[in-house]
Symmetry: C2
Subunit: 347 residues, 2 copies
């Protein structure tokens, strides 16, 4: 995957704009020297930062615009006045084939509506999804939708399965990624109607490019029992946030426990190598970046508060996604699924 890859950066997105975006790109370029960049935004703010990164400057083109989506803008405002903004232009660069992927740390709601507007949903897709990389005790899995939309019908859940599988193929290099539907465990209420319908379609449709494993529960996500976990966006977003909150909570407990006595402090100091490994494991910056799937182009959302290391992870993710030709492949997968599903439904 050392092919050239051009990244469109919304340089004004996030809490710090170019101050984070530019050093983030520089970090990513060190890992992937074949990258080049188009940076969209206020050149008066971008250029001084870029001047401090000669290597990056040589691989970058700055495209000026005065317009920027604010972190506080509502999606409806972004819709009305987003045209020509740094976020819009980055997406347009992907749409027009000038770049392979767009990365923005701008606000999620705005990025969602603009990405949908500029890149357009793939044929047959009503709802794009946001996919998150979720650390597991084995490695990582993909969870989607983590909040592009609330609710999903059975067909949309099946589309999510296809999308997540395409992403897993790109990132994990497995031809038939294992896929589970997130559900609740109690027999009586074995999931909402749409989850059960999606289950039967995924189970009964022959020849899908996935290894469908049935239902999984919330506590199995982190165990890494499947490559892809499918869920509608309300519960998916709550699951993601809850996991983040629990990790923070346990860090808090751990810190308190390790500083409660002189002996604990001494022990913690001796074990600092171990704690360093743990800290890396739990570093949310390593898994930064939500991927918009189901659009005719790749858009990556970085956390608005990410630092340069976090933003570099989001760029790396975009690079991996672009390298795998995910859009072409996913388009074909979805078309095949629709055909097979229609065949089942009309049997």
């Amino acid at each position: 995957m050392a092919a050239a890859c051009k990244i469109a950066l919304d340089a004004m997105g996030g809490d710090h704009g170019p101050e984070i975006v530019v050093p983030g790109a520089a970090l990513s370029l060190v890992r992937h020297p074949e990258l080049s960049f188009q940076l969209f935004g206020d050149q008066a703010r971008i250029n001084p930062v870029l001047a401090r990164h000669a290597g990056l400057a040589a691989r970058s083109e700055v495209i000026h615009t005065d317009l920027a989506i604010q972190m506080t803008d509502k999606p409806s405002q972004a819709m009305r006045r987003g045209k020509g903004s740094s976020m819009w232009l980055a997406l347009e660069a992907v749409r027009d084939g000038r770049c392979d992927v767009a990365v923005s740390a701008g606000n999620t709601g705005a990025l969602m509506v603009l990405a949908k507007l500029v890149l357009r949903p793939m044929n047959g897709i009503e709802r794009p999804a946001i996919a998150a990389l979720w650390p597991t005790i084995k490695s990582e899995c993909i969870v989607l939708d983590v909040g592009a939309n609330i609710g999903a019908d059975a067909r949309q859940l099946c589309h999510f399965a296809m999308m997540g599988a395409a992403m897993a193929r790109a990132l994990f290099h497995v031809e038939n990624p294992s896929v589970g539907l997130l559900n609740v465990g109690v027999e009586e209420i074995k999931g909402a109607e749409e989850v059960r319908q999606a289950h039967s379609w995924l189970k009964d449709t022959p020849g899908l490019p996935i290894d469908y494993r049935g239902f999984v529960e919330g506590d199995q996500i982190g165990q890494g029992i499947v490559d892809v976990v499918v869920v509608e966006g309300f519960a998916g977003n709550i699951a993601l946030k809850t996991a983040e909150g629990t990790a923070k909570q346990i860090s808090h407990y751990l810190k308190a426990a390790m500083t409660r006595s002189l002996m604990s402090k001494l022990g913690a100091m001796l074990a600092r190598g171990g704690f360093k490994v743990l800290k890396q494991k739990m570093d949310p910056r390593r898994a930064n970046g939500g991927t918009f799937l189901g659009l005719n182009g790749i858009a990556i959302k970085s956390h608005g508060g990410a630092d340069a290391l976090g933003f570099a992870s989001a760029i790396d993710l975009g690079y991996d996604m672009a390298g795998a030709g995910i859009v072409t492949r996913l388009t074909a997968d979805l078309a095949a699924f629709q055909g097979k599903l229609t065949a089942i439904a009309t049997e």
Copy 2:
């Protein structure tokens, strides 16, 4: 709260039946000497275990039945042939006022249908909920519904708020517990329609016995920013399981980190006092027990796999709930809310 309290125990519930239920009750009796028990189940299995706990035996009555709900029974099977089972009889003892609370480690689905059948929902309640105690960095909060039903309309979410508040009043001894509605953070999709409707009703209804705080996100549950978190059962169950899974996952990381080198091992040994505190903090047995709310009687579900310590926590929870007269109080709260809501709706 040293008033006498009689607990109805489904002695056959859970993975181990009386082998866990009886020692669990003995543990709880040590903490609360004013407890007494009725144990329902197979006396040939109960009596030998009870004989090893003289103190408990003196405060217990064994009521024999041959029938027991199996852990693998479907709720529909429990419905058909549950009558007269140890679970059923424990619930009946509460219904008939012979006991103050029923505790079972039997299967959730069966307990749900039998509890609904025997205890009946409160006036105006279509859906009981299961409430969980959730550890926070401050202390604990209550989250409901964690899986009694999938989905909830706006009125049901408001009922959950009342139920959770009544439980918080009983356990946390605050007159106006703070309540939040679990939602997703993205502006555009600020929650499902029913969540928004419930939000406006809780906000605009004057004189409710709660301190309504608006929306909360998944990562705020563990921060303890409210006493009660309200969510429909699908997302609630997924949140609960995901938090459990994340805690397990981090324990796994921590263990690996502390055994990776001799120095880490030595440090961990010195810090073992701190680790012990951490382990206690994260011990799921401390928060064992889901409470069925919205029924004319109190039923507590213990984890099926809980040990005696875990089962004792579930009994303790039932004891606290009974001592607060929660059923009477909640019935009055719900009636008042209905009246006020009707007034708003017909304005």
